[in-house]
């Protein structure tokens, strides 16, 4: 039965429809079990696809419409290791999230499970697809599910507001993507990625090609939350329920980057390979995103918002890896993305545990209240180290590959960026951990008193703010802690798996090989594979940088917790620089829907101008 590539999409859709249709008669435990089981099956199917695709892309033509004379009539899934890995990541995170929410969540009958499964199906379809419009359809599918899931907690006014900004800004991004698709179709008459690439490769990178690339890039960058398209993210991710936040932070943002990379290498790398400054334009976006995200992360006291900005800054780092436009950089970026997604998922679950038991997520109000929760504390510390990218986490290996690629590309200063940004995000988390679980750090000026407005306005992650929830266990239940532990273990396993570097490099080489991809999809020819053996990447220098990063982060965290211990002159000097920077950034991020969309257009104009300059 030739079903495997379609299974991880068809199965969750079918189960979702069944759950919704049978909602009046289906008891809650059955629905929970069905949802978790489906998510687990999807994960297994994607894992199987990953293993199979290591030998060659798995091309699956729906409806039996194989291409004729190089023209694709139907829609194809073209599964390669990178896409399958991302789909597996989504499955793992969804299974973990659904397990976590087993005992906590107050669902509307079984409608919520239906939405989650549709969300998962959309992500998987997006990752496996080999057709541009099909990618767009699945993109809209998981986006619509995301808008509904983000605004789920209607009792929390902030989440409705965040969902509105999320939905409107992302919809504008989708409009831009569709505009790019229309332009490409007008020129080539094709929608299949491979066919588009073959068709464009015959011509130069003229204004239509560049305009189409700009529209697609900007549209997908909105989802990825690259600066300046990121203003919608913090509200939406932070105020969504934990179970959804896990997927958002773990995989959804990265999907935007995957889309740009996939579209670039299959469609545009033919005509645009000679564009010298493209790397610079992408790196500019990466650096800005990483720094803005890192600084904003440090400025937050709301745990989930902190994680949201950490997501933004790590998207910047991942983009830097892709922006180097070479197989080593791509391989590092993909590996980093996978491990980082797992770590962030675990961190979101930890924040959910804290919210569920302490009914708050503001680190100032939570000071010292987490003393009796050693498991949660351990999870957060481990997560912070994972974000910093210390060995043995997979993030370390991913960064090592990206740093190697940076050295080869002649941009060694990127290593400094990685060190600084990883330090910033891990500092924020370590500071929060110290405050919440160890009671460190005296009350900072202007912080709300612990007895002040309780869980209501400040918290959002999880359902702790909902009245009527009676479960006040003091100790975290295994179904809550186990998923987080498993996710962290998976992040370590990704880093330690024997031969992983070789696998990643081969996968990245195939990902960046346009002609090979086209041959496989349109003619069914398994290419010989691009075997350019790369010398083993030395790990000593990256290890040094990673440990430096972690120590810097720890230092920053301690300095924030005990400012009186820092020598006065140093403290004043830092405050004089930090103060205005923080105030400006906060002010910029204070806007609503109008501001987000304005910044979107500004970003489009900026990237457009840069691309025009670079292409001339």
């Amino acid at each position: 039965m030739d079903l495997l590539p379609a299974l991880p999409v068809a199965l969750p859709l079918l189960v979702a429809a069944a759950l919704v249709g049978l909602a009046p008669v289906c008891p809650r435990p059955v629905a929970d079990a069905a949802a978790v089981l489906t998510a687990a099956l999807v994960t297994l199917a994607c894992l199987a696809l990953l293993v199979i695709s290591l030998d060659g892309p798995v091309v699956y033509w729906f409806g039996g419409w194989t291409p004729r004379g190089g023209i694709a009539l139907g829609v194809a899934f073209a599964v390669d290791p990178v896409g399958a890995a991302l789909a597996t990541l989504a499955g793992v995170l969804a299974t973990a999230a659904l397990t976590f929410s087993w005992r906590i969540f107050e669902a509307v009958r079984t409608l919520h499970h239906g939405l989650m499964l549709v969300f998962l199906a959309g992500i998987v379809g997006f990752c496996l697809s080999g057709d541009l419009f099909n990618m767009f359809v699945f993109y809209e599918l998981f986006s619509v599910a995301a808008y509904a899931l983000a605004g789920y907690q209607t009792t929390n006014p902030g989440s409705v507001r965040g969902a509105l900004n999320f939905a409107i800004t992302n919809s504008v991004g989708a409009i831009l993507v569709l505009g790019g698709i229309a332009l490409l179709y007008g020129r080539t008459g094709a929608l299949n990625l491979a066919q588009l690439g073959q068709s464009l490769a015959r011509g130069p990178a003229d204004r239509l090609v560049v305009a189409a690339f700009l529209l697609l890039m900007v549209g997908f960058f909105v989802k990825a939350a690259v600066v300046p398209f990121h203003f919608w993210l913090a509200d939406a991710y932070a105020l969504a329920p934990t179970v959804v936040g896990v997927l958002f932070a773990g995989v959804v943002s990265e999907l935007g980057l995957y889309a740009v990379a996939r579209v670039y290498w299959t469609v545009f790398s033919g005509p645009m390979a000679g564009v010298e400054g493209l790397r610079g334009v992408l790196l500019l976006g990466a650096v800005t995103t990483a720094l803005v995200g890192g600084v904003m992360c440090l400025l937050q006291h709301h745990l989930a918002r902190m994680l949201a900005y950490a997501t933004v800054s790590h998207v910047g780092l991942t983009l830097a890896g892709f922006a180097l436009l070479g197989p080593v950089g791509v391989g590092g970026a993909v590996l980093y993305l996978l491990a980082d997604g797992l770590v962030k998922g675990a961190l979101f679950i930890s924040v959910g545990i804290v919210d569920h038991h302490l009914h708050d997520v503001d680190e100032r109000r939570l000071r010292g209240r987490g003393r009796h929760m050693p498991w949660a504390a351990a999870l957060m510390v481990a997560g912070a180290l994972g974000l910093a990218g210390v060995p043995p986490f997979g993030t370390f290996l991913g960064k090592a590959l990206m740093e190697e690629a940076a050295l080869e590309a002649g941009t060694p200063w990127l290593i400094g960026l990685f060190v600084v940004v990883a330090a910033l995000t891990s500092a924020a988390l370590l500071r929060a951990t110290g405050r919440v679980f160890l009671g460190l750090g005296g009350p900072s000026p202007g912080s709300p008193s612990p007895g002040g407005p309780g869980g209501g306005a400040g918290s959002g992650a999880g359902s702790g703010a909902e009245p009527g929830y009676r479960d006040h266990h003091r100790h975290a239940h295994p179904t809550q802690v186990a998923p987080a532990v498993l996710l962290l273990a998976a992040a370590v396993a990704v880093g330690l798996a024997p031969g992983i570097t070789g696998v990643v490099e081969r996968a990245a080489a195939r990902f960046t090989d346009r002609a090979g991809y086209a041959a496989a999809v349109l003619e069914g020819v398994a290419g010989p594979g691009v075997r350019v053996p790369h010398p083993p990447v030395p790990l000593a220098a990256p290890a040094f940088w990673a440990v430096l990063s972690a120590l810097l982060g720890l230092g920053l965290a301690l300095a924030a917790l005990a400012p009186e211990r820092v020598p006065g002159r140093l403290r004043d000097g830092v405050a004089r620089v930090w103060g205005p920077v923080a105030a400006t950034l906060r002010g910029l991020h204070d806007g609503g829907i109008g501001d987000s969309v304005t910044w979107l257009v500004v970003g489009m104009a900026a990237f457009g101008t840069l691309l025009a300059v670079v292409v001339r």
């Binding site: 030739d2 049978l22 729906f62 009539l73 008459g189 239509l208 501001d595 457009g608």
Partner: protein, 254 residues
């Protein structure tokens, strides 16, 4: 940003972005002179291969059937989302619809509207079924026909009361219609797999072009989509009306 500053920034950015867009758009072939191969090939072969005279329908439901499955589920997810978002909160109560309440400010439905509305319900529903059934032959199909069917339900509400609408389309029925429609599409796709081919292969007998029962799986898919769209839109209608007419917060008036 203050509104004034935002407007200025936007206008400046939009001018640049707009110029960019136009510059790129001029690279398209002239309007009316399109020569893409995909559409040409399909126009030539679709009728012969699929026995469906509506080539757009054969593209939507057969050649690119996966896209339409995704699209159907987008509708499904959105309707689901609306249902979840507009559900009664714990501190709200469901009262009987207050259309006849003393403090209702809207005018009562006139007899002309009632008569015309009721008179139109039958033809509209019939037309909707016609559009769904003939989707593979003439312009139309599941999506268009489903919306027309849902309009029938709207007419019931307009010519009657919310209670009448609820009686004609109880929640269980619309939920079931939607789910059966959505699951039906996937099930038809799996038929192809069971028959030994890939997902969503057209495996039913193709018949003669122009006949009502032709084009294999396209009519059943149309039916499933029509069911789902009709159920979905009636559900949307009911949820919004329920929110406006039925659900009350404590102490709220109208």
């Amino acid at each position: 940003m203050t509104p004034r500053l935002r407007r200025r920034v936007f206008l400046a950015a939009a001018a640049v972005a707009g110029a960019w867009l136009l510059w790129g758009l001029t690279g398209l072939p002239d309007y009316g002179v399109y020569n893409g191969p995909y559409g040409d090939v399909l126009n030539r072969v679709a009728v012969a291969e699929r026995k469906a005279t509506n080539v757009v329908a054969s593209v939507t439901f057969d050649y690119r059937g996966v896209d339409t499955m995704g699209e159907e589920y987008i509708l499904f997810a959105a309707v689901l989302g609306v249902a979840i978002l507009l559900r009664a909160q714990r501190d709200e109560t469901e009262q009987s619809p207050d259309e006849d309440a003393a403090d209702r400010h809207a005018p009562a439905t006139s007899n002309a509207v009632r008569v015309i509305g009721l008179g139109l319900v039958g033809p509209v529903v019939l037309f909707g079924i016609y559009v769904v059934a003939h989707g593979h032959l003439t312009p139309g199909g599941g999506f268009q026909g489903g919306v027309v069917l849902a309009t029938g339900a709207l007419l019931v509400y307009l010519s009657g009361e919310y209670v009448t609408l609820r009686r004609v389309s109880p929640e269980v029925l619309t939920d079931a219609a939607e789910s059966v429609g959505a699951a039906g599409y996937v099930a038809i796709g799996l038929l192809g797999v069971v028959a030994g081919a890939t997902f969503l292969t057209n495996v039913l007998p193709l018949g003669r072009p122009g006949a009502l029962l032709s084009a294999g799986t396209i009519p059943p898919i149309n039916l499933a989509v029509g069911l789902e769209v009709a159920g979905g839109f009636v559900l949307l209608l009911s949820e919004f009306l329920e929110q406006a007419l039925v659900i009350r917060r404590p102490g709220e008036v109208t």
